[in-house]
């Protein structure tokens, strides 16, 4: 199982001292946090993409390229890549390039995650959000999987004889997660391609996501990628910890009360009971996170949101120390022990190479079957009586 952190990269005023980091300070802080993730033994760092204030990460591959150079094992991912407003050609090239730079330590999470005004800045329309996500991804898949692409669609200029460069490392595209909080279309899309589904359920009650994840699992099986419990599920989480649980509550409350998204709304107590947010001791975080498995089944990736709402860098780094030292080792041991052998571990470049080989082998076997079926049909046709003519199949003059 993979554990990691994800950040949206918000620049938020620290409500306890009214100080706001500069863009430069926040960008450098994010890069420091990413390196800290590897240092404390986490597996994944996922970076958001935004093109509007108060967020800074507009150019994720630039930042992830830096992190790639500074780390050795950390998997670099996104949370999320805007499949709606980015040109799929640029996504194909940027992330294949990052794969080469990072020696395959790359996967991605696709999302629509934009507010209305952002779309027109990129020549798009939010009312087309789902069709954009569907068509752009269909093209992106082909650009990675096929050497030469002829393509025509609704949302960009056609392509004739186009090859995106560089080609994906070892001929295998980055593993893709699809993130969605309420659209069955996106769960369906993830299932269709045999991709992962990431339920960022940190702002919503779990019952809602339980239904959506179950739907994705059933459709994953329907499309023939394996059984429902072999589908790739990722979950969000949000925690704040201190040795003594009341200290955690006291320290986090001002950040919670003033946070973007939910600040000035429900109480910390209501929000922690209604959503996965856990504020307390490391043991409480362990116990709560283990319930995710009971709700959603065995899953492959757990990402925590650790650095938002104006928490200072020093605090975030301390939180990561606790997460890496006291929480993740226990969770990893428990979750890995409980996961049955037939359920896949978190996807990596190596496991994707294996999956590609298995798919090719299956395809070749199917082709052979198909050929023998055609031969058998031809033999039957030769021996059949005149009542079974080509006319029955609409072939004139048979």
């Amino acid at each position: 199982m993979q554990f990691g952190i994800f950040t949206v990269g918000d620049v938020t005023t620290d409500p306890t001292n009214n100080s706001t980091p500069t863009e430069n300070e926040r960008i450098k802080a994010i890069l420091t946090i990413a390196q800290k993730a590897e240092e404390v033994g986490l597996d994944v760092f996922a970076l958001g993409e935004h093109h509007n204030e108060p967020f800074v990460p507009s150019s994720p591959t630039t930042m992830l390229g830096y992190v790639a150079a500074k780390t050795e094992k950390l998997l670099l991912s996104t949370a999320t890549t805007l499949i709606t407003t980015n040109d799929p050609v640029k996504i194909a090239e940027d992330y294949a390039m990052l794969q080469h730079v990072a020696d395959g330590r790359v996967d991605m999470m696709m999302g629509r995650g934009n507010t209305g005004p952002v779309y027109p800045w990129f020549g798009k329309d939010i009312r087309q959000g789902i069709p954009l996500a569907i068509e752009n991804y269909a093209l992106l898949r082909r650009l990675w999987d096929e050497q030469v692409v002829d393509w025509e669609g609704n949302f960009r200029t056609p392509l004739q004889g186009f090859t995106s460069t560089p080609r994906p490392l070892d001929g295998v595209a980055p593993f893709v997660w699809h993130g969605s909080i309420r659209s069955p279309e996106i769960a369906e899309q993830a299932a269709y391609y045999g991709d992962g589904f990431f339920a960022n359920h940190i702002f919503w009650p779990k019952e809602h996501f339980q239904r959506l994840v179950n739907y994705y699992r059933q459709r994953f099986e329907h499309y023939g990628h394996g059984t429902a419990d072999q589908a790739f599920v990722g979950l969000g989480g949000q925690v704040f910890m201190a040795k003594n649980s009341q200290d955690a509550v006291n320290q986090f409350r001002p950040y919670f009360d003033n946070a973007p998204v939910y600040g000035h709304g429900p109480s910390l107590e209501d929000f922690t009971s209604q959503t996965p947010l856990t504020v307390g001791s490391p043991q409480q975080v362990i116990d709560r996170t283990l319930t995710f498995r009971e709700t959603f089944g065995d899953y492959q990736r757990q990402l925590f949101l650790m650095d938002h709402a104006g928490l200072p860098l020093k605090t975030v780094l301390e939180q990561l120390d606790i997460l890496g030292a006291e929480v993740v080792p226990v969770l990893r041991k428990e979750m890995d022990a409980k996961r049955p052998a037939h359920v896949p571990d978190g996807p990596t470049h190596a496991s994707e190479i294996e999956r590609m080989r298995a798919r090719e082998a299956a395809r070749q076997a199917a082709d052979l079957d198909g050929q023998s079926a055609v031969a058998a049909e031809a033999a039957r046709a030769e021996n059949s009586s005149t009542t079974h003519t080509g006319a029955a199949f609409g072939i004139k003059g048979a």
Binding site: I134, E135, R141, N154, Y192, P205, L212, F271, Q274
Partner: protein, 210 residues
């Protein structure tokens, strides 16, 4: 389970306790239930005081998701055969709380839901707020609104105000219209698939990516 039992939901957004809005809500609900029982129709009434879930409604506006308590109210409305929606008239329109409830409910949840609208006010001069504010709100939500809307001002609770038709007469006329529509509704027995995809949906889009 509720196949033959019609589901009637009454919503009151009165703020005081006791409240004249709640009083009007109860009278309309009782009259509708009585009318349905006279027709031999089984009916279950659920009355929701928005005052009790006012904070949940505000929190939903901010966080984007309902608490369990609010969810239960939203589900009741979405699966109803008839709705009685009653608001006090504040500043020439429905109350903010009333509007907020219908802002957080899914915009397809009221489609086809027979709805009786009613309001209370301190003066009869606000009665047309039902027609220029409340009725269009439900028209937008595609809920068929009964022709008779019921407005009760302070003096209506007395002798019969303008002497044309008393509040009681208007309540019975409106309740009759709603009972008629509730009897024909099958909304509560429908099964809704929250993940139903549009028939034209393809996971690869309009142009093939095979």
């Amino acid at each position: 389970m509720t196949e033959n039992i019609k589901q009637l939901v009454a919503i009151s957004s009165g703020l005081s306790q006791p409240s004249s809005t709640r009083l009007l809500t109860d009278r309309l609900a009782d009259a509708t239930v009585a009318d349905l029982r006279d027709r031999g129709v089984d009916v279950e009434l659920r009355t929701i005081e928005l005052r009790d879930i006012a904070q949940d409604i505000t929190n939903n506006l901010i966080t984007g998701f309902p608490s369990a308590k609010l969810q239960s109210a939203l589900d009741a409305v979405a699966g109803a055969d008839g709705l009685i929606a009653v608001t006090p008239i504040f500043t020439a329109s429905y109350s903010g709380l009333f509007k907020s409830f219908f802002d957080v409910i899914d915009n397809t949840a009221l489609t086809g839901l027979p709805t009786l609208i009613a309001a209370t006010g301190g003066t009869p001069r606000h009665s047309l707020a039902l027609e220029h504010a409340v009725r269009p709100l439900f028209s937008y939500l595609r809920a068929p609104v009964m022709p008779t809307s019921v407005y009760a001002s302070s003096e209506d609770w007395g002798s019969g105000a303008d002497g044309v038709a008393s509040l009681t007469d208007r309540i019975h006329r409106a309740a009759g219209e709603l009972a008629d529509a509730v009897e024909r509704s099958d909304r509560s027995s429908r099964v809704v698939d929250p993940f139903a995809l549009d028939a034209s949906f393809s996971p690869v889009g309009g142009y093939g990516a095979q």
